[in-house]
């Protein structure tokens, strides 16, 4: 008997959708558009965050050692660095190697150094930090600490770049949350209005169901299902729109030689994330329905 009731409720939900076809299509399209707007921010956030993580991974800290440091002192610095849990790997670059690298990278400038008569470049340790120590704040703390090791001249990393990127990601995160909340509220309102129209167009039927003893749940379930379906379709359609837009954007970036290689860094939402977004749509759809149904009295005709 439960199956029959469920089938009835499902049939009613489908009938609701079919009865208000135009309203349903408009609601799904508007919901999809609002979800897609949120999605753009989310995509931007996800990609910038991934990019920031990738850049953080590439960031190497240069720990310069003082000139004329005895070999034993250099070895002591290396031992201390290797013992540091924040250090993932390190390599030593001698003064000679630094000069050779400079000459290889900037051949036209190498004559300047030759004029000085001696090698001005310091020896250094090139340090890659562990993943949990790559945030701007952690790097700053580590650099300050390392600077205090005897024999260390200077600790350098691209601090501004790391901090600027972290700042941008934070702003995007806040913007995504604000836009997400506003547009989610808009989606809930759109769905609530659609359900309100459905309730209005079927008010007589609702009254009859109330008269014959249908419980409030029995009356409400088809409308909650309808709201859920609207939210689900809207969010799924928004993902399709976003994916199409994303691929178009990636194609454009790929064609533009200025951004060579950037397109490979761009990523769309993972399958898990897509599932979460669809579920959020479904949830917001239910919320919209419930909002409208609160007006239907507890089983009263």
């Amino acid at each position: 008997m439960l199956v029959r009731r469920l089938l009835y409720l499902l049939r009613e939900a489908v009938a609701n959708v079919l009865t208000n076809r135009t309203t349903t299509v408009v609601a799904v399209a508007t919901t999809a558009f609002t979800f897609a707007c949120v999605g753009v921010f989310l995509l931007l956030y996800v990609n910038l965050k991934a990019m920031a993580a990738s850049l953080e991974q590439d960031i190497q800290v240069m720990v310069y050692v003082q000139d004329d440091l005895p070999e034993s002192a250099r070895g002591e610095i290396e031992v201390q660095l290797r013992a540091d849990r924040a250090v993932r790997s390190l390599s030593y670059v001698s003064k000679e190697r630094a000069l050779a690298d400079f000459q290889a990278q900037f051949p036209s400038e190498s004559r300047l150094l030759q004029g000085l008569g001696q090698n001005p470049l310091p020896a250094s340790f090139v340090v890659t930090l562990a993943a949990d120590s790559r945030s701007a704040e952690a790097m700053r703390r580590w650099a300050t600490r390392t600077q205090l090791i005897p024999g260390v001249g200077q600790v350098q990393y691209n601090q501004e770049w790391v901090e600027a990127l972290a700042g941008i990601v934070r702003y995007i995160e806040v913007a995504a949350i604000i836009v997400g909340v506003i547009l989610s509220a808009a989606s809930v309102t759109i769905i609530a209005n659609t359900i309100r129209l459905a309730l209005y167009s079927r008010r007589e039927e609702i009254e009859i169901l109330g008269l014959i003893g249908a419980s409030a749940t029995f009356i409400r379930v088809p409308y909650v299902l309808e709201g859920a379906a609207l939210g689900l379709c809207g969010s799924a359609l928004s993902l399709v729109i976003l994916k199409a837009g994303f691929e178009l954007f990636r194609h454009e970036i790929h064609s533009a030689t200025r951004f060579l290689g950037v397109d490979a860094l761009l990523t769309f939402f993972s399958l898990d994330m897509c599932a979460v977004l669809v579920f959020v749509g479904l949830f917001l759809g239910c919320a919209g329905s419930v909002l409208s149904l609160l007006r239907v009295g507890e089983g009263r005709a």
Partner: protein, 222 residues
């Protein structure tokens, strides 16, 4: 079975029912007579919990309606069949589906639904029209479908609000005979009407309302 004690109901401070006290026994057939606005429909609405009285108390089978929680009202309504002047059938559902609705909301099994709907339709003489849609039926047939829907789950009482308001005298007679047959099976019936044709055919207890007050109680023996 139904007891009203000093029941009053107001709409915009105007009394729709005023200090009504009455008792209806199990298995009775009662006519609520009176002109439009006398309070007949209000009284029926009170009996199904669609409205609550401002004053007084209503007991159905000894249970006070005032003490019913909102979630218990549907349970009460499953024991009460309602027939309305405008039928209130769902036009996009077949006769069978319309009649099966009360059983469906109760969670009856499919074989039960099939059996009881067929029985109800047979008792109103419409079992051969179960697959038709209400707009394809005559007004008399639509009212009979409405009656079948009201009796399909074996209610303890049947409330009819102007059930013959849209019917000609022949169809009125037909519907009243149906009510009598249902009453003969033990169902309490309360018919609110201002139609003298109904009074002439029923010859049972008559309660007359005017301006929300009971002005006459007659026991007419058939």
């Amino acid at each position: 079975m139904i007891q009203l004690f000093h029941v009053s109901k107001y709409y915009d401070r105007r009394p729709a029912l005023s200090d009504v006290t009455l008792e209806i026994e199990k298995g009775e057939f009662v006519l609520l007579m009176g002109p439009s606005g006398a309070g007949k429909s209000t009284l029926l609405k009170l009996l199904i919990g669609a409205e609550r009285p401002e004053e007084g108390q209503i007991l159905i089978q000894g249970r006070s309606l005032a003490k019913l929680r909102a979630s218990e009202i549907p349970v009460l309504r499953r024991k009460v069949g309602v027939v309305l002047q405008d039928f209130r059938l769902l036009p996009k559902k077949t006769v069978f589906d319309n009649v099966s609705l009360p059983l469906l909301v109760q969670g009856a099994s499919t074989p039960d639904i099939r059996r009881k709907v067929t029985e109800a339709l047979r008792s109103v003489g419409l079992d051969h029209k179960k697959d038709l849609f209400p707009p394809g039926l005559s007004t008399g047939e639509q009212q009979r479908v409405c009656i079948a829907r009201a009796i399909v789950n074996g209610p303890i009482m049947l409330l009819a609000d102007e059930p013959t308001g849209n019917l000609d005298p022949d169809l009125t007679r037909e519907i009243i005979e149906l009510f009598k047959a249902i009453n003969a099976r033990g169902t309490t019936i309360i018919v609110a009407t201002h139609d003298p044709n109904v009074l002439a055919q029923v010859n049972r207890r008559v309660i007359t309302l005017e301006h929300g007050k009971v002005v006459a109680r007659e026991q007419v023996c058939s």
